[in-house]
Symmetry: C2
Subunit: 341 residues, 2 copies
């Protein structure tokens, strides 16, 4: 996704420096020699220049106006350390990485954590923003029409970034609902697992003359996901509009069309447990939604114990967490759905 | 859908009398002789008995406890006339038919119109309710897990019907937001056309190395649809929860997976106009979403002129209506999306 962001930046006239992590050496070598990104399978515009992670200081020099951070969530702390070693002035950081950080009785957004960590290490405040909303990287990388939300506590920053990035195919919209947008950005992956379940479960249902699929069940799960993202976002102080808007419903829609979260769900639907999937058909895949769920499970349970969340309003969340944590089969508790208060 | 409703009714122990219209003579003949519904391609439970339209008085006798009305929206007036001729007492009517009726400066729901017409002709009030939410008939007809909303002004009636119909695979939930649920039930078909557009438009886009699809664009349209259903429902007095819940987002999700509305949208995406589609590839198909749009267009424009709706909050609605009314190509006005206030 970091690479896909080069497209609108480059089309808006920026000289883009694409810096890889230590895991991306071969990719960056391809960009340097052929302008080609092998994972996305696209040729990048000439104004995009590849830099190895060892060249970070060269890439982030005094002329830099914006840093777009797109490492995997597991690499965020590494990226902060790297940035701290080269940042000499408060350049805005735009986070593409999505995630939530568990706290004692709460969850924080990645972008707030990164901003705090940078300020602490650097001694000055860095303007921070994040991107949410429905965006498949491979589509943006070939300039397919894409809409997103750019969120920051500072509306002027969000608006400025939208203005800087907007092209005919890339339509970002500003928001100040940091916690709402980030809750959706993180949890939509988790809930996409449950929607995928319905499509996998079809394989275990008796075959029928009329070849009916299992879309009605997928729709209940889709909808319960929106309902529980609403509960989660609002309990953390987020707004309803982020949940039914692009960051929540819109991004969940696109995440359910394809991808690893939905693939894990399909395997669960066929009757495999999480560890069976991770040891078998998806042993080389990072499933962000599952990792998010497992990383925040204790914090969510603490929030329920303290009364900040009501467990009966999160039947899907709790059932899916339980299946992931204890490697049991996932069975949606249909009767408990759509009863939240 | 009327026939699919026989499944939960029959599994809850009701003796179900399935009455066809004058267009369903062959179907009912199949039910009578073989318990088989050829359109749904399912064998019906033995407790479902077929009746031709000429046998309505026999079917709707004194023992009837509930009437489920599932005619196409064009047949509602005919169905009212028929019912008036046989109804001797206030039996509850549960509407499966979805639609909105244009008024001078507003829109009404079908269920309210039907209740008014029945009361006027019969001289007594008939308890009326309607079903919204994501339900593909062919899936319900083979007992696939399905969730819906049963809506009535009278909460006790909605709750009673949910209780009467609930089975392990059919999970209805009560609501009193008649106008919100019915606005979504009608307009989700209309907006599914626009989401289908994105998938059809892919065929006209230049082919790319990475085989990118057009899901990002579909997601923007999906989301703008929710946004505009929110504007429409709330302007008519409906609640936000119906729009982001099963009747709106949930039903739109399922409607976008397949069906005629989405098929029309795909043809529009390939560059055909509405009349070209209706004279060509879909000449035998009723596209409910398009018919709904055309039937309410004047009322919507009147609502905008009177200030009851703001046109700038409905860019997708107006662009799609314009394309349908004037047989011009549909081009989503991306820049106007997600700016509503």
């Amino acid at each position: 996704m970091g690479t896909a962001m080069c497209l609108p930046l480059s089309d808006r006239g920026y000289a883009v420096r694409l810096v890889g992590t230590f895991l991306d050496v071969a990719i960056i070598e391809n960009v340097k020699t052929k302008q080609f990104h092998p994972r996305l399978n696209v040729t990048l515009p000439a104004s995009v220049v590849g830099f190895q992670h060892t060249q970070l200081a060269e890439a982030v020099d005094d002329s830099v106006e914006l840093i777009v951070l797109g490492v995997a969530s597991a690499g965020v702390n590494w990226a902060i350390e790297q940035l701290v070693s080269v940042l000499k002035k408060p350049v805005p950081v735009l986070m593409v990485t999505k995630g939530m950080v568990p706290e004692e009785n709460s969850l924080s957004s990645f972008v707030d954590k990164v901003a705090q960590a940078l300020e602490k290490a650097l001694g000055f405040k860095v303007p921070a923003a994040a991107i949410g909303g429905p965006c498949i990287a491979g589509e943006l990388a070939v300039r397919r029409t894409t809409g997103t939300v750019i969120v920051a506590h500072d509306l002027a920053l969000a608006m400025q970034l939208c203005e800087n990035l907007q092209t005919h195919y890339y339509q970002p919209r500003p928001s100040i609902d940091v916690i709402g947008v980030e809750t959706c950005a993180a949890f939509k992956n988790f809930f996409a697992i449950s929607v995928g379940w319905a499509h996998g479960a079809l394989d275990k249902l008796p075959s029928v003359e009329n070849k009916a699929l299992n879309n009605n069940a997928a729709a209940i799960l889709f909808d319960q996901a929106i309902r529980e993202m609403m509960v989660l976002a609002q309990s953390l102080g987020g707004s309803a509009e982020s949940v039914w808007g692009m960051p929540g419903a819109g991004d969940l829609y696109v995440t359910c069309q394809a991808g690893r979260n939905s693939r894990l769900g399909q395997h669960l639907g066929r009757g495999l447990t999480y560890s069976e999937v991770k040891q078998g058909p998806m042993k080389d895949d990072t499933v962000e939604g599952a990792e998010l769920g497992l990383s925040v499970a204790s914090a969510l349970h603490a929030m329920i114990r303290s009364g900040r969340l009501r467990g009966e309003n999160l039947p899907l969340t709790l059932a899916l967490l339980n299946a992931l944590q204890h490697n049991t089969s996932f069975n949606p508790p249909w009767g408990d759905f759509h009863r939240s208060s």
